[in-house]
């Protein structure tokens, strides 16, 4: 989508008046829909729809050997797949750049042990650990991918059931694990998992949750990922540059909104009920 100058001016004026093109205020989000447990054969899954943006996340767990330099830690890997369903530009390997950007940002955001403790995924020091694959499928892009993906990932990890280890048999170099049934599992602790907020600078003001048109009008945006009360990663995207005071304003706004978003996510997750018609048939 490309906008002409007049359209851009219209969007810009809307932001100035605190009345954006879809009637929102500068700090408002578009409506969101969240479903969990949508992929039946995954260990955990979630689907988030943020207006037109549609993200499906599934978590798979495998037993793996830990890295030799970090024998006490499990592994966490993010894989983003940009489906061509979202836009024909993603056909073939077209979506790879976007995919790598998102997955790298996610790994950076989950990097700190204060944010997500990989030590809990260790089964046997230096020998066995859990490896968590978080697979993200972008089904539709309606702007603001980072926020949608981070929320969906957090929800999917919250939904994830890690099997319990019942028994470990060590016979020389062979390690055999006896794993509990799927009905008897423990959940991952994701209280501190980060939530990302994209703060977009349009004209003199900063907005959150830009749609595609607003993303076009902005020269620079900042993706902040907040875990509890700390920043776990900050990344500048877009082509423009910002003054340092603007940057700090963006960080403050992102921080405030992220807290609100995180609270909203938790209250939603606690209210989620298993329903009959989940998924795309609704």
């Amino acid at each position: 989508m490309t906008l002409c100058e007049a359209e851009k001016t219209f969007v810009l004026h809307g932001v100035e008046e605190n009345f954006r093109i879809d009637g929102r205020e500068r700090e408002d989000y578009r409506p969101m829909e969240l479903e969990t447990d949508i992929v039946s054969h995954a260990f955990g899954s979630a689907r988030l729809r943020l207006a037109n943006t549609d993200v499906l996340v599934a978590v798979k767990i495998e037993v793996d050997t830990p890295f030799p330099e970090r024998p006490f830690e499990g592994k966490l890997e993010f894989f983003v797949d940009c489906s061509a369903n979202a836009t024909p530009d993603f056909e073939g390997r077209g979506g790879e750049d976007v995919a790598i950007e998102i997955s790298n940002t996610l790994s950076a955001a989950y990097h700190s042990p204060k944010v997500f403790d990989l030590r809990k995924l260790c089964i046997l020091k230096g020998r066995k650990c859990w490896k968590i694959f978080v697979d993200i499928l972008l089904l539709e892009c309606g702007g603001n991918l980072f926020d949608a993906v981070s929320l969906a990932v957090k929800a999917a990890l919250w939904n994830t059931q890690v099997p319990l280890i019942r028994q470990i048999d060590i016979d020389g170099n062979n390690v055999e694990l006896k794993v509990s049934e799927l009905s008897d599992c423990q959940r991952l602790d994701v209280k501190t998992a980060p939530v990302m907020v994209t703060v977009c600078k349009i004209g003199e003001h900063c907005i959150v949750d830009p749609n595609v048109a607003e993303e076009q009008c902005s020269v620079g945006s900042i993706v902040v990922s907040v875990s509890e009360n700390k920043f776990s990663t900050v990344l500048q995207t877009g082509t423009g540059s910002l003054h340092s005071s603007t940057l700090l304003d963006c960080l403050k706004l992102g921080y405030k909104v992220a807290q609100r978003l995180d609270d909203a996510l938790w209250s939603t997750l606690s209210k989620i009920q298993p329903t009959e018609d989940v998924g795309f048939l609704k």
Partner: protein, 251 residues
């Protein structure tokens, strides 16, 4: 291969409790996304497929591919990495997905009235969310729905179905993943059920030529049944859309 496990029990029930001539439950929905020109979601048993159609639009990537009398149909088949029990490493680009993309294109070319759109291109993208046997038929059926949702003129429905031969004499319909791995031949047929034409037929493993007729007959019957279900879904969708707009523009 374990042949001792029977595909059909003595009382005529299959592993998942179906009878030999029963399809798995098909549920579908048209217009699940707003950005593509047409989209559809289809569930066949546990197999879940999303299809999106973009176009007809100008040919992308160099005009050399464009044809002066036809539209080109471009298909991409891709499987989510979590769609199978074992996590896949890559969603697309392997041999199997390339082959399926080509077969899908072949099936769709037979029904789309491409001569109406010279110099243009139609993109069909399918994404498998859960693979549980019969991926190709599910993709064909979902693409048909997505094409209808996009309003692209087609000659008739193109439907696909699988059939197999159990215990060397009973043909059975719509093979699930479990039945696929236990063994037995699988015959995949994509057909135009109204005119009774076959556009694609593929078979793995072998059975005696004498059985081909009845297995094929069974698969075609499956295609006709699928068509019934799809047709019903389309009518329901059109009625919903139409009545919500007060049948505006229908004169």
């Amino acid at each position: 291969m374990s042949t001792n496990k029977e595909l059909i029990s003595k009382i005529g029930l299959r592993l998942d409790g179906r009878r030999a001539n029963e399809l798995r439950r098909i549920r579908c929905k048209l217009g699940v996304f707003t950005q593509p020109d047409g989209s559809a979601y289809l569930e066949q048993g546990l197999t879940k497929v999303l299809a999106a159609v973009y176009g007809p639009h100008q040919v992308r990537g160099g005009r050399s591919k464009a044809q002066h009398d036809n539209a080109i149909v471009n298909c991409q088949f891709s499987m989510a990495v979590f769609s199978t029990n074992e996590r896949k490493r890559r969603p697309r680009g392997d041999r199997k997905s390339t082959e399926l993309s080509m077969h899908l294109q072949q099936a769709l070319l037979s029904v789309i009235k491409t001569e109406l759109y010279p110099w243009s291109q139609i993109d069909v993208y399918v994404e498998v969310l859960h693979a549980d046997g019969g991926i190709y038929p599910a993709c064909v059926n979902a693409s048909t729905l997505a094409l209808i949702d996009a309003g692209i003129p087609i000659k008739e429905y193109v439907c696909a179905c699988t059939a197999s031969l159990a215990n060397n004499d009973t043909p059975m319909l719509d093979i699930s993943h479990q039945e696929e791995i236990i063994g037995g031949p699988t015959l995949t047929v994509a057909a135009l059920p109204m005119s009774g034409k076959i556009v694609l037929m593929e078979m793995s493993q072998r059975f005696h030529l004498d059985h081909l007729k009845k297995v094929l007959e069974k698969a075609l019957k499956g295609c006709r049944d699928v068509k019934q279900i799809l047709d019903e879904a389309v009518r329901l969708h059109v009625r919903d859309v139409g009545s919500s707009t007060g049948w505006a523009g229908t004169g």
